[in-house]
Chain length 427, copies 4
């Protein structure tokens, strides 16, 4: 009975959710000009138009093409907007995504709307209701789109930061700062065996499974992330000039790239500012530090006589913490800047665990014991990146609140800084 109810109700909610997530992408982009949408500011980033098209391509490729009679919007798009799915076919080279001036942004919006209409029709005519596999693809497509929403925000921030005009993505009010980031405490956890990973309720990515057992020695974790003000002390203590704090590869990056502070920080007349999606601002010392690489997080931890938590420790620590915080959807709805904030709403032993900044863990991204990627092209979603990346946890101010989970494993190479990436300490 309940199962049947569920089968009926999921597509209904899913249809609403589909409309909402797709709309939110366009809301995020509504202040962008055509010019903002076609430049690739670095190989790691993509043109905004590409994100708009690729997320649409995802539904066309994995959902609509399940119907052999479906006629694609444009034959070229299969290659142009395929990110990395070798099983689907050839891909236009990633590093050249910024070389394409056509299709225009307007044409890509047409593409979106045509595909949206098709999917809506499939909801209306019961096709998705009838096939749980299709519903699963829609759910995956929506989570996929939410990941690209975050990338749109971080990619446009990177693009704007290269421009001497320092364009503003969207002005935003400063949140009231009545409750600023608290003192940092150590929260202790006893040694013992734990279950880690997703138990299979609700949507999760393949890389969060299977649920498995780990043994953790006792550990302590910081009650909140390291703040910009704390990170400044590392800088003024010459942290960027002292190799003893750095991994060998990190020290090489510091030399090669000339890192002296987190990305987007600027020092003018002795005063620290940071470039945000709402423009250049005075640095808020009580907000979580963001836009640091794994190497900087790790070096800070060593300087501070601590270390980063493993992802298992983080997940155990998060067990009782409600998923609340500063997220992209709420910030945008409230007209506030999409930026980490010192504001805290929750009250518990652990602050800012969700939202604000992704937290680097000490864990290299690898398969859980018994991990199996799904068959077919969608098996390429996560598994093939398990190499030379570190796990981040908890979501950021650019993440949607209904996208994050306790078991969610985000991953980036240790030198990546353009995400809203921060960290908390452990010992």
């Amino acid at each position: 009975m309940s199962n049947q109810t569920e089968t009926v109700s999921i597509p209904t909610n899913l249809a609403k959710r589909f409309a909402a997530v797709r709309l939110f992408t366009e809301q995020i982009c509504e202040t962008l000009q055509a010019e903002d949408c076609c430049i690739q500011s670095m190989p790691d980033a993509s043109p905004i138009r590409w994100h708009l098209a690729h997320t649409t391509w995802f539904f066309e490729t994995f959902l609509l093409k399940a119907d052999p009679s479906y006629r694609v919007f444009d034959d070229h798009y299969e290659v142009l907007f395929n990110s990395y799915y070798n099983a689907v076919g050839e891909q236009f080279p990633r590093a050249l995504r910024g070389m394409l001036s056509r299709p225009t942004v307007a044409q890509v919006y047409d593409y979106r709307h045509k595909v949206d209409q098709c999917v809506a029709d499939w909801f209306t005519n019961g096709r998705i209701e009838a096939d749980p596999q299709l519903a699963r693809v829609v759910e995956l497509g929506l989570n996929h789109e939410q990941q690209h929403q975050e990338l749109i925000l971080t990619d446009v921030k990177h693009l704007f930061s290269l421009n001497p005009l320092l364009p503003t993505f969207r002005t935003g009010t400063q949140p009231s700062t009545t409750n600023v980031t608290s003192e940092c405490d150590w929260i202790d956890f006893e040694e013992g065996q734990h279950r880690i990973g997703n138990a299979g309720e609700g949507f999760s990515y393949d890389n969060e499974s299977p649920l498995h057992r780990v043994f953790l020695e006792s550990f302590a974790i910081a009650s909140r992330p390291v703040t910009s003000g704390e990170f400044l002390k590392f800088i003024t203590d010459d942290g960027y000039s002292r190799p003893e704090y750095w991994l060998s590869e990190g020290w090489r990056q510091v030399q090669d790239r000339g890192w002296r502070h987190p990305q987007y920080w600027y020092q003018e007349c002795g005063e620290w500012q940071e470039f945000t999606l709402a423009g250049l601002r005075l640095l808020d010392p009580s907000a979580p530090v963001a836009h640091v690489s794994y190497f900087e997080a790790d070096a800070y931890a060593r300087w501070a006589g601590a270390r980063l938590p493993t992802e298992a420790e983080w997940e155990v620590a998060a067990e009782e913490v409600p998923i609340e915080g500063n997220f992209a959807d709420s910030l945008l709805a409230a007209g506030q800047a999409i930026h980490p904030s010192s504001r805290i709403d929750e009250k518990g032993p652990l602050d800012h665990l969700f939202g604000d900044v992704w937290e680097w863990t000490a864990s290299q991204y690898t398969a859980y014991p018994g991990y199996q990627p799904p068959p077919g092209a969608l098996g390429e979603y996560n598994g093939k990146f398990m190499c030379n990346q570190f796990v981040l946890r908890g979501g950021s101010c650019a993440t949607s609140s209904d996208h994050i989970r306790r078991t969610y494993r985000n991953f980036f190479p240790p030198e990546a800084r353009w995400q809203f990436s921060g960290f908390r300490l452990a010992r």
Copy 2:
């Protein structure tokens, strides 16, 4: 008396010419979308918007700023749109011109129109009439803009060629081909002493001066450029695989870049096509070959048992030839494709000497004896590039007819192929 008349009449014509040249730039761009205007498709090319802004910056910097009370349109533009004038100040790095999404194309058009209005006012209120140096700057600025009109055409062609959608810049009728490229004859010239360079009548660039004497041994020059059909024979004779025809550096480029044919040629099902500003077309074997590097021109000449003419030989050969041919302005006015054509209007011993394709010469670009660049920033216009470049002569189908001269010295590195560059033989 005549002098005074001249002083009066020049600015009047100049004002008209200013309006016409500036308008022609916008006419060229009228089929382009905003997206087409902000991408830099390779380091040698610039975003179209950059050309639109830089040509305007030229008038603002070298003309309008002569008035200390002039207020610039935007303080950032001095750096953003300076190409290479160190004497003016810092330049935004050339290789990063494609990283700027702002100012938008619309803002750049505003910039153009504001500066156009100012210059028009200076014509109206007699300020330019009163100062021959200002008139000279305007004349230089217009020639400068005409050079960038040609670059707009070649840069957008390169950009579109990277796109699997193969966008069409502007459809164009095929010219009637009643008079196709003639048989190739050798035109003989006796040994002797000649005067080369500009005698100082009318506008010319500094690098065309001074007029000077050279001694030329006897030589013969081909009556017309090498055609695509002739170049095909070099290809089918394995010309790209036989090192004996190539300069050492050219052979390296052939290996490194995998050159097997001129740029923009494609072979499909045994049939040769070329990508043009009017889209993909069957190759016309009787039209002058275009988009070859100096290395390919030189290798072809060696294969054909001939050589390229020196620039002095070319200039001597051109002495009696009228400046007629297929140029950007006439082609656009006639609704024809901007592409080299086998059509010939002139009748004389030498065909296609002007227009259609720039002709590589065997001369490395160097200073004429007694050459002096002008003082100040404008001295950087030509002189500082006299190294590792070869001279091309005669203009192309992307050149304006009133821009070219017999003494005109264009120059590009020997590996450049994205210009409409061809060649004729000598011996």
Copy 3:
């Protein structure tokens, strides 16, 4: 009592061991010409002379300089032969080690002998006996030297492989192959909690500590490594052309580097050969495959429907296995080629676990819970490399038999192939 005996006896054994290990380095090099010793064949490799000097520098820097009255052999050597110890001071750039023709090889041998004499004196005069910390440094220095002995072998193999003359390092008899590599079985292990890491008896590196608990789900491990013959089946099944088997980064390497088979394999007239330290040989299909990257090991495993073991699984599986196999010291003593062999001496459920080839594990190289690097420069020995590397276990045919342990953690980047690296499967 026993403690005192131990304090007395260790230096005695240590002195003998010091002499033996230092001598073995020279024995390895005795067939090399001066020319073979000064070339750096790739950034990952070092000139042999550099290894000879650096291992000597290690004793000079960390042992002899403990005596303030010690006079260094040459002031320049502190910088020239420092590998990566920032706490000691500046280092001559690693990538330029091959740019140095001086000191000559003969001068470096002088340096070795002078330092050897000093250390011998310190043994004789009781100085090392008197200070356990000095004895620990000697022990570390000898293990360090043994690691460089292995690098000498792999670096000279790489150097010779670039030379069309295909020089032979040292001819060697083929081992009798009565007992060839057995059939491959799966050995099962139950789920449960285990202790991993070094318990502190005898020498071990810091990265093997501390002993800690892990929980392992049940697993099975292959009874022997994958052989060259098995790997050939992967090749003939187009394994190098099918992206579905590869990590994304591995697939990129396959494309960029054109990998089609393990390093040092050559196919001639349909016959597979491999370049060995004893020259070019027919491929032995029953010997463990060597010179594969992590990416190739991982792709093979996926193709075979299996996976690589984690380092904890490997260590648990090795618990009862005697440390026997084909090692550099025994092979050299027996006049046999330093190359993985199909010969097996042991009889147990697990073959070739030690010696022959290092075995890639699925574990990225990271700190054990509670890991602390030692204070000072020697803290840079291992800890700062815990990033973007994978753990290998078991030693190879280029390792000395008294150098390897069950808990030994070797580590290399996943694209490294010039080590004797192979793998066994798990599931």
Copy 4:
């Protein structure tokens, strides 16, 4: 009659000259260790052993192989020691010449001596006497070897300069400096027509032919090269920081390579030193400046209000000047350092025109009118490099005195600095 005499006498002298030139190569190398001979310190340089082998390969390939019964020394050498002769066959990649440790230096000397013996036999048995074409190949081979003698000196200087030990190639006495470099005068030449190039008497390279007519406007040339002391004034006047003096490409090199002074200059405690083949020395301000690129020469000239002479001007100016100066053979014989010197022996209007430093001219290296490379592989000797190089004239302290001519055209890319390259001014 005289012809016959000539045919007889040439081989006799040639045999002596062959022995002498070949010996001189070994004399130059006699202080070098095996280690010094196998490193390639940059792509433009070659290992010394490669020079020793390649010059021998030249005689083997172009002379001895003319006899079909000749058996080569080693089959691999045809590829290993071919520099750039595509008509001969494949070449071992230039950039990898330093990756070869074998053949050893001793084996290469064996190769030299075996080939020397063969050629000596051919002289003895009259084979060369009988065939003028063979004599011409020997003559070319000797000139070729002399060019490589100079490269041996400049390549070993570059190699040693990278070594913190700063090895000394050969100590040398300082020449007595009674007659130091004179005041600089301007020597005037009238406008007029001149004959340039080689008239065909005695040996010359193909690129010096044919003799042809040029018209030169009047010019003046400096009586001596610019000295190190004069160049220092350019440095202290911030010459390396002022873009107005530099070609655009030169300015880019200054930025990219951080040039602040000529190569091999070092400033310590305010005192300028230069690294020479005889070790580190105080800079001699009255000696000709050496180791500057074309860009530096050209920038200095612009700073000084002058220019560089064209090669035609240089050749006209040299018409009456005796070929005397500081050359490699005399310096070595006298036990003096191979380094530009302020000493002058000649007395005439033009000093130091020959020897000491090669002089950059303003002429890009190109074909003389009517130039024809010889047929076959030897046609690749000079002609295929006529691109992106500038002509230098007059020989240096590393040139042999019997190698240089008034019509001799040396050529290097404008950024090259490792040759003994200086310049004199013109206007």
